[in-house]
Symmetry: C2
Subunit: 434 residues, 2 copies
């Protein structure tokens, strides 16, 4: 389960309140109020806003209702400096964001002839006659700046001004992520940069695999607590721990210096356990190390059923260091593809230290690779016994200098056990390459 | 990209407004206002609430601030019948939900001696002395019903009463999903059932693989539009289309009847294209069909790099029909594990109809399986040529009755191309088994 470091997050909170500019996002659409859809745009926007020194203080999801939307926009105007409404800019009857914001701000909507021409051209290019309802996408709020949308038909809108005596910026963005991102990057970030006081922020993300969060925190808390000016957040989940460091100073050099100083102290304490110093994934680090040293890899997976190969090949260019491998679910295939002796499986069972070792060595030999990985275990939920319970996994790594085998008992469900087994394999490869 | 059917969603909206009971969720925690964490509990809660006939009208995320939380709770009391606050019930200084709700509702907090004893017992069992800050987890709002949390230390709370003359129910739930789900299921659903007027709701989820949404909608709109009393939502994404049907009537039989009637009409129109009639995944359906017919499968994957094997083995019990396979990233391994002739790769290239066919037939032969799948393609972003562009994928299925090969040009990025290739393979297996 993902959780966070409470003490760190508490300091984080204090940090927010000293900030001059805060934002909130309102995702618009009834489909995001069903069990089937999630607002993910706000994560992207939060990342970009944080980079500018703007903190997100509220996030909400509102359905396609003028009443609810208007109320949400009014509330946001009272409490946030920057309000970003996501979606509801399309051509249909339930695209109501423009109308709702007009009502909330007491502004009028005017049809912009220039946008209308562009819309018509867009349809003409695709050989389609524009249906009349599309024209509403040309409705612009009085005083709004139109934000060009290179990836879609609905333009964004930007309204900046005093409301109840307070500086407010309202941004209307299209909902499809590709449109939102392109538009925000090109049209909003430069405008926000000139609006938000220049901030000097340094960030750093360190990662650690397979250590328990409590252990990491016990070792690191005495260190990061002496850096009151660096916000440290510890997030744990999916077999790794992320340490997010963030510092704001009067100059970039000063901010970078403090983050660097803390990162070095953490490095000293955790040593080799830190696999990533710039937010890279474990697969990424393993890929760098293999390529740097001109080495290759092959895998023989039983209980992970291809998950390790899949994670490695998810990266473009992986054919340079990954030769391939076998998914040896049946005992016959363990022999056929990885040379595991039948008698060994009979004697020790398919889930055993011996078979893991034989899988790693066999696949290395068969694929003529520098390293061979063998994984065998009980992913569950069925198939466990008293001697070999669900969660028991053997991971072996064979290389020029011999073979090491690790026995682990992973808690959790099938998905988690399989994922942790692949984390274990990647971490073993990484450490062998150090 | 995921999108929805606009006309369907519009009808959905009208539907909401005729409802007697609506809810809103407030997820509490500053970590969910960072780019790294998402509130996912609300999806589970929405599903359960919808099942009771309760619609979720707003969702929001609020940080660990008493001021923000109190304001959010007050606002929710004005607009929603049921308010669910998620998280912020732990023992630390930034667990503020209890305090904020007390302030918003004008209630007091009292330390419950019974909960305190339970907390102390909990710690004693683990051989730890309880630290004093944990005692705040025993603070209960006056008039609140304490909801037992079998999976964690913080109990939930339930407050029901008139506020400003309106019936309101406020539920405080712990944030960790395993705690929230156990508690909601056992303690809240029965209470809500007796509170919400009995609803007769029938739902049905149909799924279609690999057809474009526009085509599906064009064929189905004339049908579902004649069922004004059945809410139809079309969601597209990840190589499949989901049709959600939902109907509310005076009796369960009537509701089920209408949903069934529409489902049958859709079935008639789409025929074999519908792979799932009860929300099952494509892997699940393929697994049922293989097991029913006592057949087995093996895979030889190039560009998908183990993703197909991984999807199949993600299901418990897959060893009954999945023997295993090979990830043949290098040309040598295509020959070594799936008997693809070297000369064939030289003549036609690794990405070719011929090699896909040879992979499927070779792996079937090597693994002695009923079916063999071969996948080869250009997943990109690099490696594409004019003749063989990024997205070109050949998928072959070899069986007793011969081998079929399909050539596809999938748009999108590496991840999407790989996913679609596995969808294609699973869909071919399914159709072969009909």
């Amino acid at each position: 389960m993902l959780c966070r470091n409470r003490s760190a997050s508490h300091r984080y909170l204090l940090f927010i309140y000293t900030l001059p500019v805060n934002a909130e996002t309102i995702a618009v659409g009834s489909e995001m109020l069903t069990p089937h859809r999630q607002d993910t745009n706000s994560l992207y926007l939060t990342d970009k806003l944080n980079g500018l020194g703007v903190e997100v203080r509220f996030k909400s999801v509102v359905g396609d209702s003028t009443e609810d939307l208007t109320a949400a926009a009014k509330l946001a105007m009272r409490r946030s400096d920057i309000i970003i409404l996501i979606g509801g800019l399309g051509p249909t009857e339930d695209d109501l964001t423009r109308e709702a914001v007009a009502e909330a701000l007491g502004l009028k909507l005017q049809r912009d002839p220039e946008i209308l021409v562009k819309l018509e051209e867009r349809f003409a290019k695709r050989g389609i006659k524009m249906s009349p309802n599309n024209a509403k996408q040309a409705d612009v709020l009085t005083s709004a700046v139109v934000l060009n949308n290179p990836n879609g038909s609905a333009p964004g809108q930007w309204i900046s001004g005093k409301y109840d005596g307070k500086d407010r910026t309202i941004i209307l963005l299209p909902g499809p992520p590709i449109e939102l991102k392109g538009l925000f990057e090109a049209e909003c970030i430069p405008r926000l940069r000139s609006k938000v006081p220049l901030q000097h922020i340094a960030i750093r993300e360190l990662k650690i695999a397979l250590l328990p969060e409590s252990q990491v925190d016990a070792r690191l808390a005495p260190i990061y607590k002496t850096f009151a000016d660096v916000q440290t957040t510890i997030l744990a989940g999916a077999g790794e721990i992320q340490l997010h460091l963030r510092c704001r100073k009067d100059s970039q050099t000063e901010a970078e210096g403090r983050v660097e100083e803390l990162a070095e102290k953490i490095d000293e304490e955790m040593g080799d356990a830190i696999f990533s110093r710039k937010g890279e994934s474990l697969e990424q680090i393993v890929s760098y190390l293999l390529q740097m040293r001109g080495l290759t890899l092959a895998t023989a997976e039983s209980c992970t059923g291809g998950l390790l190969a899949q994670r490695i090949t998810n990266r473009s260019g992986s054919s340079r260091y990954f030769l391939g491998g076998a998914v040896v679910y049946s005992n016959e295939l363990k022999t056929q593809f990885a040379n595991v002796p039948k008698t060994m499986i009979k004697q020790h069972g398919a889930v055993s230290r011996e078979v893991a070792k034989a899988l790693a060595e066999g696949i290395r030999q068969r694929c003529v690779s520098s390293f061979g990985v063998g994984i065998t275990g009980v992913a569950g939920p069925t198939g466990g016994t008293e001697q070999k319970p669900v969660g028991l996994v053997y991971v072996a790594l064979a290389g020029e200098e011999g073979t090491q085998v690790v026995e682990r008992n992973f808690p959790g469900d099938r998905k988690r056990i399989r994922w942790f087994a692949t984390q274990q394999a990647l971490e073993m490869i990484r450490r062998a390459l150090l």
